[in-house]
Every structure is written in C-alpha cells, then in structure tokens.
Symmetry: D2
Subunit: 117 residues, 4 copies
C-alpha cells in the first residue's frame, strides 16, 4: 500500500520492531493530518511482518486491529515501536506505540495475528 | 491518502453511507491481498466524513477504530456500508460492514468519532 | 459469575441468541449504574455458549471482547441480542446489542471466539 | 458488582494502579476458569476509579473496554497493573496487564475513560 512505501525498519526481532515513516502528502487527509488509517496500516505491517519472519512462513495474518487515536501528526516522521505481548500456539498479540518527532504518544494499536499451528 | 483516491460514495446521510472502492495494486500488500489498513482507512473516512457533514463542522475526529478481518479481498471492488449506531453529545459510533463483489462479509469495523458539543 | 445467575435465555440458535437479565444490586457499581463489566460478561456468555452448543464441544473460548458503552442502565432489565457475523474455520465472530427496557441501545459488544478446527 | 468485592488495591496514583483479587467460585464460569467478564470488570474499576480520584469528580466513565484473553486463570489470585497512557482534555486512556500468580500474562485490556472538561 502506498502509505507504506517509505517505511524504514530500524531494528527487528521476533519480540520488538522499531520503524520510522516520513510524513508526506500521500499520508495526509484533506485537513493536513496523517490519516488514521496510516497508523493502522503501519502497525499491521510491523506485527504481521515480524511474526511471518519468526515463523519462516507466509501463514501469519492479522485478525484484528484496535487503534486508539490520541494526538494528530502533521509533519516530520511517524515513529512506531511494536512489542510482542503474547506468543500462543494459534495467535500472537502485538502492541504498537506510535509517536511523533517530539516523542509524544499519538496512537496505541493492538494487533492479533493468527498463525498456523 | 492514496488508498482513498478512488472512493465512490453511492449514498450518504447522517445515518448511513454506502461506498465502493475498486481494488488496485496501490491497495495490495505483497501477497496480493488488499492491505488490512485499507479497510480501516475506508471505514474511518466514511464515518468521520458523514459525521462532519451532519454537524456542518470540522470538529469530528476518530478516537478509535476496531477492525476484525474475516476474509481477504484480492480483486474486484471493496463494498462498505457504514451505519450510525449512536449519536451522543460527545461521541458518535458507527459500525461498518465491508464486503466483496460476491457479497461475502470481509471485515467488521467500529469507529468512535469525537464531536465538539 | 454472580452477574450471570439470573440470565434468562429467550431464544437461541447457532446464529442468534436473545437474553434478558434483571438488574439487581449485585450488578450495580457504587453510583447505582450497572457495571460495565456486566455488559461484557453477558455478551461473552451468550457468544461462547452459543458457539459451544453449535459445535457440541467445550472447545470454544473468547479471545477478545470489544465493548463500547453508550448509555447507562440503572433499573429494569438488560436486554441482549447476540448475532453471529462470521463462522470461520478457527474463529466465530459475534456482535451483541445491549438495550434497556425502553429499547434504547446501551452498549455494543464484539466477541471473537476461537474454535478448534 | 460481586466480582469486585474482594479487590485489594496495593498501590494507586493518577498514573498507575496495582491490585490483587483472590480467585473464588463467584468469579468462575462452569468449567472452572475465571470468567472473561471478570477481567474486563476489574480493569474498568481500576481505570475509572483512578481517573475519578485524580479529577476529584464523579465525571469519569468508561466509554470503551477492549480485552484480549491470552491465558486462563483457574486458582490463586488475579494480579492487575493499570497504566495511564494518555491524559487528554476529554479522554484518558489506560492499559491494564492481567497476570496470574506465576507472573504469566493472561489478559490485555485497554480502557478509554471520558472525562468532563
């Protein structure tokens, strides 16, 4: 998805992923804020990607995405840290903190990823 | 956001919005499925847009987005129906059903929109 | 759980369950409103129970509960209607509308139930 | 609510609350596990209570509760740690980790509390 072309993975493991996405016009809605869907898409990409990498399989897919929008981002970069909170037999659960350049928390996302046993 | 360039609003009121989005490569993730973030972005756009139109104000913003992914979409169009379930003094709540061309339910989204009293 | 002693199932199938729970002091928080946890518990019970009945197995368990509180209930009865929205191989998803005696919508609950394939 | 009679608050501030609830039969569903609704009710109580205490007002009420169930608890005590993640003008957001006696994570809860400006 276009929102994700410029995602820069800074560090990744099967327990934590850190990424940075510069804010461009393609991420903004008409009022100039980053679209809420971009936060959801970024979190989904990090959680599913890290799960798939860890399992060495294509059998990881998100089954839910719960995003709370706390503060808008209008410029600079989006900073995301995804932490794995649960590694079960059939699901992994990740929580993703999204912040702005000033380190202010802008969104909380919880992603449940279904994995093939 | 690029995901939303081609959104076609078929009918809109302050209680229900119907829309259709053709699936193109800009919506797909590498495996060829529509990216989960696209469903979240579409639902967000419909719910916030209809709330803002009804209030004739820019004072509507999503505070949460809860998406359950049920079935992938790979081609054709995304069909979304947003229904307002709650009209409160400080929040409106919308539920959005997302389906494919065959009418199969592919995602459920609940959006809470904060409004200025 | 005590909150659920008085639950009265009015109709049940593998697609829809209707129930009624009289409001008593054991459901109220100190300010006199029905506790939000009671809505979550009732919805969980209906969704998991109907799934387990349909599968004729004990292999149904809730993996998530997403409740939005719209309007308090203080007296009379809690009316709940659970509708199955998805019947997948590994999960069933239910949406539960909770209303008061006047038919006003008081809570929306979405329950994801994991099932053994 | 009966589920909450025995809640023991170990430490509380406007940023973090720690509590412990012994598991008794009144919290169990028929299979012997603590009912999912009990986790939701405990988290709701901690988040709303700490917000109301901080604001010195009765004007705090939960507007959403998002619980992910990771692992059942059958005996011992329920341990809950609620952390405030957002303090906005109209909402506070708390994340609550629920664990068992062995320190294993059993549920994740996110509570959004509406506050009067």
């Amino acid at each position: 998805m276009a929102a994700l072309y410029d995602i820069e993975i800074l560090a990744t493991s099967d327990e934590e992923v850190r990424a940075r996405i510069p804010v461009g016009d393609h991420l903004r809605q008409p009022l100039g804020l980053v679209h809420g869907g971009a936060f959801a898409a970024i979190a989904d990409t990090l959680a599913v990607g890290a799960t798939a990498d860890a399992l060495e399989s294509g059998g990881a897919r998100a089954i839910s995405n719960q995003t709370s929008f706390l503060r808008p981002i209008t410029a600079g970069a989006i900073h995301a840290v995804a932490r794995r909170r649960h590694r079960g037999r059939t699901t992994w659960v990740w929580e993703v903190d999204v912040s702005d350049d000033a380190g202010r928390l802008c969104a909380l996302v919880r992603i449940t990823v279904a994995v093939r046993p």
